[in-house]
């Protein structure tokens, strides 16, 4: 739908948001740099004076930099919550190493004869530092600041993961929604920002420090500090707060639908899938989006709210199989259908929990489940042919792939090859279409919206109930791609809004309509 729109049009249409995101992005970057410089430069000077501490200090700053950004942000949520604070702290930590190291290199690189001369002239240690060492180390020091700034413009996109805003909102939203205009609308300004800051700092680098009064160096610092606080996302008040992924924010069957159909009015922040459950658990968020069979639902004691007005299309899982294979091995259909109707939402959530949280292997979880349902048979002798099973990269798909493997081995003379971890929907689907795999578990909603994506008028004509959607995708897949949807497995891994079990119970909120009422009353 957005394909027809040019990047320019998109940027004009979204200019307000783009502008505020850019400002937030700049603020996050500069603010973290101001703090980093304030700490790292004195620290660099200090280790240049006491060389024996240089190893430990640089080593520690180096370790900080190797922590994956998402992990670092996740660690901070219990202490700092979500929003700009942990984002700035993370950016600050990443900027430390280049600035400390270059300050240290710059100072220790000053010709000792020159320092000696300064001492011999009768300069005090402080005067030597200010008048001789820092000016001479300045180009090297600035190079470190430039490096750190450019890195931080990039890392600051991740701030969107923890509700700190910035251009990452567009970038990750665009990636999630497969909308290249949106990606570029975030990525291009971010790249320009990096280039521009680098250029500006290169001009500063060429300044001769001895000509610049200290005041003129400190003033912009203070200026940035004040401005940045102004542009950062404002402090979130005592009302309920929702955290949605960039993808959910941009989807018709997501936040947009919530606003249109339910008239939901709630303060929202953009946050990543990786941290939102934890943030909700910690009470930093009250409402999040998620998948109804996600194991983390159980792990973090959350409940889903009933979608009583049916805006989330059903996402019933079913195996999608190449017709040619079904024709060649007619027994396959019966074998795969053994699973159908066996797994409800709760059951699937529990299995996902076992894998995601309890770290059991998908094989074990699959075989335990099958044996509990008396479906686990010792493998029959194979040799009749090979069935290639694909899966996307997450626990639920691994479990399903394992179950199908065990069923096929137990009930047919076919061999199985699993090709798990095929990235996202598009990769799995292409593999299936191009005869790289024979089947993979897919969801009706995904088949409808991601693969078929019918025009809005057709889409509106399809009732949002389970059977209508299933029948539609079954018909179209058959027709367009020669692929067959077998019977649904039973659970519906659709979008859902979720809340902490306790809070939902206290407020007596069971459905999205309840939530809307509650919000309107307060």
């Amino acid at each position: 739908m957005e394909e027809s729109q040019s990047l320019g049009q998109f940027m004009v249409q979204q200019s307000g948001k783009l502008f505020s995101q850019t400002l937030t992005h700049i603020s996050l970057t500069l603010l973290s740099m101001v703090f980093a410089i304030a700490i790292a430069v004195p620290l660099g000077i200090w280790i240049a004076r006491r060389r024996r501490f240089s190893g430990p200090v640089l080593g520690f700053a180096g370790i900080l930099q190797t922590i994956p950004s998402i992990a670092l942000l996740g660690i901070m949520i219990p202490f700092l919550g979500i929003g700009p604070k942990p984002a700035i702290l993370a950016l600050f930590l990443y900027a430390l190493l280049p600035v400390i190291r270059n300050t240290y290199t710059g100072i220790t690189g000053v010709d000792p004869v020159v320092v000696d001369a300064a001492k011999g002239m009768g300069m005090s240690n402080w005067q030597i530092l200010i008048k001789v060492e820092l000016p001479l180390a300045f180009p090297v020091l600035m190079a470190g600041i430039r490096t750190a700034t450019v890195i931080n413009v990039g890392v600051a996109t991740l701030a969107a993961y923890i509700a700190a805003g910035g251009l990452g909102e567009f970038i990750f939203g665009g990636i999630a929604l497969n909308n290249s205009n949106m990606i570029l609308a975030g990525a291009i300004p971010a790249a320009l920002l990096a280039v521009m800051l680098d250029f500006l700092l290169s001009r500063v680098q060429q300044l001769s420090l001895k000509r610049v009064r200290m005041v003129y160096l400190i003033l912009p610092f203070l200026f940035v500090l004040l401005c940045s606080f102004y542009f950062l996302p404002s402090k979130i008040g005592g009302r309920m707060l929702a955290g949605f992924t960039p993808e959910f924010m941009g989807r018709q069957d997501g936040y947009i639908g919530l606003k249109e159909v339910y008239k939901l009015k709630i303060e929202t922040v953009v946050i990543s899938d990786a941290v939102k459950y934890k943030a909700a658990y910690e009470g930093k968020l009250d409402v999040i989006d998620g998948y109804s069979t996600d194991g983390r639902l159980k792990a973090f004691d959350l409940v889903t709210l009933k979608d009583d007005q049916h805006i989330f299309p059903p996402y019933y899982a079913a195996p999608v199989v190449r017709q040619a294979v079904l024709k060649k091995y007619p027994e396959l259909e019966m074998v795969l259908n053994k699973l159908s109707g066996l797994l409800n939402d709760e059951e699937m959530t529990r299995l996902n929990y076992d894998v995601d949280k309890l770290k059991q292997s998908p094989e074990k979880v699959a075989s335990d489940f099958l044996s509990a349902h008396h479906l686990l048979q010792p493998a029959l002798p194979g040799g009749k042919g090979i069935i290639r099973i694909g899966s996307k990269v997450f626990g639920e798909q691994y479990i399903l792939a394992q179950m199908y493997k065990m069923l096929i081995r137990g009930y047919s003379h076919l061999d199985v090859e699993t090709k798990t971890g095929l990235g996202g929907t598009q990769i799995c689907f292409d593999a299936l279409k191009n005869d790289q795999i024979d089947l993979y578990p897919e969801y009706t909603g995904t088949g409808l919206l991601v693969i078929l994506h019918p025009s809005p008028s057709v889409l509106n004509g399809i009732p949002k109930d389970k059977d209508a959607v299933f029948n539609y995708v079954k018909k179209e897949f058959n027709h367009q791609f020669n692929l067959t949807w077998l019977k649904p497995i039973g659970f519906n891994n659709s979008y859902a809004l979720m809340m902490r079990r306790k809070q939902a119970a206290n407020l007596n909120i069971k459905s999205i309509t309840d939530l809307v009422h509650h919000l309107n009353e307060n």
Partner: protein, 275 residues
């Protein structure tokens, strides 16, 4: 005026300077002479406390420098470094203004004094705005000296001020320096390993070896009354030339007479050619 008593310094347990003593009177030039690594620089730097001695003391005008604040002490002592040590990020004029600024002179005074010294040291005033890297070795050395002289300190410490120059430039600049009125009344300690230089510039010479004083006295004393075989052999190569310069004959040194002799001969030749 400067008195050094039993000064010692150890580096890593090894004595670099071993119980050195000497005295330098007001307006005298004293040369610390010796081979590389014998402790000359270390001795010099203990005088302005760039190095703290392990034993002994230094007195300037009967006052122990050990009790003075090092920064204040150093601002009163001119210091010319072995490798000029000019600040690469400062222009010539800025380099020269360092000590006066520390002493809080006003701008006008600094400017006048800079111009005066540039002129005396035969440095073109347009060089004032240049950075040290744009100067020749000889010019850098002059600026180094100018910087040390700016505040007109009564004492000047010079560590191989001509060390980095080629032999000819070196002799020229040395001659200019000896003729400078600025230097005439100063108490100077000059470090060199060049025997010629020592005898040309020193009122007194302190010959050092392996951290110890081998002989301390006037050039004539070292030349004609060497106290040890070491001193004699140290000076052996230059002995003839130096003796010619220091041997007095009716108010003239032998060297001067020789020079005159040569001149006369030259005149004779010129006359015969014209005739």
């Amino acid at each position: 005026m400067i008195k050094v008593e039993n000064l010692s310094k150890k580096f890593d347990g090894k004595l670099a300077v071993d119980q050195i003593s000497f005295e330098v009177g007001v307006g005298e030039t004293m040369v610390l002479l010796g081979t590389s690594g014998c402790g000359k620089t270390t001795t010099l730097r203990m005088i302005n406390r760039l190095i703290e001695p392990d034993g002994g003391s230094v007195y300037i005008d009967q006052e122990n420098v050990g009790g003075q604040q090092p920064e204040l002490l150093r601002r009163r002592i001119g210091y010319v470094l072995q490798n000029h040590g000019l600040f690469p990020h400062y222009t010539v004029l800025e380099n020269m203004s360092v000590v006066p600024k520390l002493l809080e002179w006003d701008k006008e005074k600094i400017r006048n004094r800079s111009m005066e010294l540039l002129d005396k040291l035969k440095l073109d005033s347009t060089l004032g705005k240049q950075y040290p890297s744009a100067l020749s070795g000889g010019q850098q050395q002059r600026v180094g000296l100018a910087r040390a002289l700016m505040a007109d300190p009564p004492i000047l410490l010079m560590d191989e001020p001509f060390g980095a120059l080629d032999n000819i430039t070196r002799a020229d600049i040395r001659r200019e320096f000896t003729e400078l009125d600025e230097l005439a009344k100063k108490t100077i300690i000059l470090v060199t390993h060049d025997i010629q230089e020592a005898f040309e510039m020193g009122d007194k010479i302190c010959l050092m070896d392996k951290g110890k004083v081998m002989q301390y006295g006037t050039p004539e004393e070292l030349l004609f009354k060497p106290q040890s075989a070491f001193v004699a052999s140290f000076l052996k190569e230059h002995k003839l030339l130096l003796e010619l310069k220091f041997l007095k004959m009716g108010g003239h040194t032998a060297w001067e007479l020789l020079e005159q002799l040569e001149l006369g001969k030259l005149k004779e030749i010129l006359f015969t050619l014209e005739g």
